[in-house]
């Protein structure tokens, strides 16, 4: 049994199958971007264990092809196992060992990046200060206890948890939240402007005057879903406080009282708070003379970290990101009227892996070819002598 398993994971056939499957997956995933958009295609084809059919929720789904995570993981196991099986401690094998080690680090780094890297963005208007970045896609239902005089306690429920008819009962909340309706993408209209027969899905707050219409998922690079939900608040000691509409399209949090405390609820882009703040001092957007073609854009920000007594100005521009506390701030974009800068914030614990891997692979190839070159030249010298 064990031998068969070892044979399977160390076989070159498995490597070829994985590489072939990866080629097919990349081809299919690239074509899928036409209809799904880059983000959705990445999720379904590359950042998944399997590619499922049918993709939308129709009561059932079956895996039709291995996803990127599965192929990458199997390839990684295959590479490690094959290398261990054939490992021989000898100087002449050093180059091979180094090259394989580099490839393992590169594959593992890629998998870790996919699993653990968090990309978000921070949009700052002139003079604005923020100590959090926001997810580009993921939303969260923020339930905030605003009763305390100094601190707010936030219970952040990710949108992946919000599903139709799901009940959320969490220790930090004195009430249960029942998701009555959930729309990944939606359009909101005032009842007075909606077509005849439109009904509100909430009976509390501004939602009582708003009709919600489901919309197809946003697929464009510059588009994003307007996620909405109707949630009923049920105090744990009984009764109901009514149903509230929460939506990315509603600008303001809504307030209610429960358990003698004041609560705010809002559906907003998922936030990642930082122990430091960033203030935009100046955003510069230069164009080539007489054209609208961007020549350069940069953001001068002030970074303030009271814990580390840091207070410094930093210029962020193309290929010159700010790296601080494990996060990298790239100049990613700006609002159309230059009123705000958009910084991409990347937290990637394994960002160093590709650099290390490349250096090790290069060193391995150098050693391997160098070894053969030296051997070849020695043989040639001996032949000439």
């Amino acid at each position: 049994m064990w031998h068969r398993l070892v044979d399977l994971f160390t076989s070159l056939k498995l490597t070829i199958i994985c590489l072939a499957a990866a080629m097919v997956l990349i081809f299919a995933g690239t074509l899928a971007q036409v209809h799904l958009g880059i983000h959705e295609a990445q999720q379904r084809y590359f950042q998944s264990l399997f590619v499922w059919w049918p993709p939308e929720s129709r009561g059932f789904k079956i895996p039709v092809f291995p996803g990127g995570h599965l192929i990458g993981a199997v390839l990684l196991v295959n590479l490690i196992a094959a290398h261990l099986k054939r490992f021989r401690l000898a100087w002449r094998k050093l180059g091979i060992h180094l090259t394989h080690a580099g490839l393992i680090i590169m594959l593992a780094g890629g998998l870790f990046t996919d699993l653990f890297a968090v990309e978000s963005h921070m949009q700052l208007a002139g003079g604005e200060t923020k100590n959090y970045s926001e997810d580009g896609r993921g939303m969260e239902l923020a339930v905030i206890d605003v009763t305390g005089s100094d601190l707010d306690q936030v219970t952040a429920i990710p949108d992946t948890v919000l599903r139709h008819d799901r009940t959320i009962d969490y220790w930090s909340l004195p009430f249960r939240i029942v998701v009555r309706n959930f729309y990944q993408n939606s359009r909101l209209k005032m009842l007075s402007e909606a077509e005849d027969g439109a009904r509100p899905i909430a009976n509390q707050g501004p939602g009582a005057m708003i009709a919600v219409q489901p919309a197809p998922r946003a697929t464009g690079v510059d588009e994003r879903d307007v996620t909405s939900a109707a949630i009923e608040i049920l105090p744990k000691d009984g009764g109901s406080l009514g149903t509230w509409l929460v939506s990315d399209a509603l600008g303001a949090p809504q307030t209610f009282s429960c358990g003698g405390r004041t609560w705010m609820i809002a559906l907003r882009p998922a936030r990642y708070y930082k122990p430091y703040s960033v203030t935009l001092q100046k955003f510069t957007h230069e164009k080539y003379a007489g054209t609208d073609i961007p020549k350069d854009f940069s953001s001068r920000v002030t970074l303030i970290d009271p814990e580390r007594a840091v207070n410094r100005d930093v210029l962020i521009y193309m290929n010159h990101p700010l790296r601080y506390r494990g996060e990298t701030y790239y100049q990613a974009g700006f609002q159309k009227d230059d009123s705000a800068t958009i910084l991409q914030v990347v937290h990637n614990p394994s960002f160093i892996a590709p650099y290390v891997a490349c250096v090790i692979v290069a060193a391995g190839l150098l050693v391997q070819f160098g070894y053969h070159l030296v051997g070849f030249s020695r043989k040639r010298k001996a032949a000439l002598a």
Binding site: M1, R4, L5, L8, L49, H69, A73, V74, V77, L115, F116, A125, G126, G127, E128, T129, K130, T147, G148, S149, L151, D152, Q153, V154, T155, A156, I157, P158, T160, V161, I168, Y170, S172, N203, Q204, A208, G239, L241, G242, G251, A252, T255, S257, C258, G260, T262, Y273, S277, T279, Q281, K282, T302, I304, D305, P306, A309, V310, N311, R312, D313
Partner: protein, 361 residues
């Protein structure tokens, strides 16, 4: 073959178990809303760079203040700023004044001065040059270093930028940064008051006195909405308005009890009385009433500048007092909600607040 399935399953579970995006998170954040400390007004004015966070030691200066000139308009505080004012001069000139506190390691005068010079588009200076341009002010908590820097950054509006007057007070636990940045002439005119203010804050640190801040700013979120004025009752704290609110206040009581007071305005009728009152009733757990019954619950109130309709609803621990008026094509709603006992305590102030409201048209 079974063994393959087990190992394969373990691999799948290992990878699938790495999904962190489905976890509910609970965390605490400071009340001071950084993201709301930069309203539209700040977009149009120069900003103070030194805006440190949680002060230590001398941070008492954050919540205490001394009397300030009447033309210094208090601005909403943030987690970074312990005091913030805006001064307006002639022809649109403005200057931004702030007090912030950083750790003791942030007190290098030369580095800070060069950072400010860079903000003004000026080259850095040496320590020798710095010694020539600094002024010293001896206060009860030590010697204060004052610098007066001039320069206009490229593309900057001279009405809003051109000069920084700053004072640095190093301490063992923290460093205080006082800063005035704005129009050069206005900053020159305000400099004596600024220095007096610095000295007074330093004196207040020693005496540990904490006179209260002056007037509250009015920060409407809808520039197309007409302006209204009010007198903020004692004990009410104005919090930055949201996109749905014209203004917000909060009042804290014992045991962390807190009430929320809001001003909301809509063009038009803003919904019928029955719809609104029933919505508020549901918020405190009361059953809705029919139109006739609701009419009996509405109490008119003549507040001088306007006639309000008011309702007072209590259900369980919660209570809501709301007042509204409709004038010149707009509806204005004033609502106080929270725990019953605290609402009862603040009720007279709420009605005084309504009486203080002045509509601009």
């Amino acid at each position: 073959m079974k063994g393959y399935v087990v190992y394969f399953g373990l691999l799948v579970v290992l990878i699938a178990g790495c999904d962190k995006k489905s976890e509910i998170k609970v965390y605490r954040i400071s009340k001071a809303p950084l993201e709301e400390s930069a309203p539209a007004q700040q977009n149009a004015m120069p900003t103070n760079a030194a805006s440190p966070a949680r002060p230590a030691g001398m941070a008492a200066a954050a919540s205490t203040s001394v009397s300030t000139p009447p033309n210094w308009e208090p601005q909403p505080l943030s987690q970074m700023r312990q005091a913030s004012f805006l001064v307006k001069g002639e022809n649109g000139a403005v200057a931004d004044i702030s007090l912030v506190s950083l750790g003791p390691a942030a007190g290098n005068v030369l580095e800070n001065v060069n950072r400010w010079l860079e903000q003004l588009g000026q080259p850095p200076i040496t320590a020798e040059k710095l010694a020539e341009i600094t002024q010293r002010l001896t206060t009860s908590i030590g010697e204060v270093t004052i610098v007066d820097l001039a320069g206009l950054p490229k593309d900057a509006d001279p009405a809003k930028d051109g000069r920084i007057v700053a004072a640095i007070v190093p301490g063992s636990a923290s460093t205080l940064f006082f800063k005035m940045r704005g129009n050069a002439d206005l900053a020159e005119a305000q400099k004596p008051d600024f220095i007096k203010w610095v000295a007074a804050i330093c004196a207040a640190q020693t005496e540990n006195k904490s006179p209260s801040m002056a007037a509250m700013p009015v920060a409407p979120q809808d520039s197309s909405a007409p302006q209204i004025k009010w007198k903020t009752p004692e004990g009410w704290t104005e919090v930055p308005p949201s996109s749905m609110r014209y203004a917000s206040f909060s009042v804290s009581g014992e045991d962390d009890a807190k009430i929320d007071i809001s001003i909301v305005t809509f063009p038009g009728e803003g919904g019928g009385n029955a719809d609104n009152v029933n919505r508020w009733r549901r918020q405190v757990g009361l059953a809705p009433l029919d139109d006739k019954e609701i009419t009996t619950k509405i109490v008119p109130m003549n507040a001088g500048s306007a006639n309000f309709s008011t309702v007072d609803m209590a259900g369980g621990d919660s209570r809501v007092i709301a007042a509204w008026t409709r004038r010149t094509g707009r509806s204005w709603f004033f609502k106080m909600s929270g725990p019953g006992p605290l609402i009862e305590r603040e009720k007279p102030k709420f009605f005084d607040f309504l009486r203080s409201i002045e509509f601009s048209s």
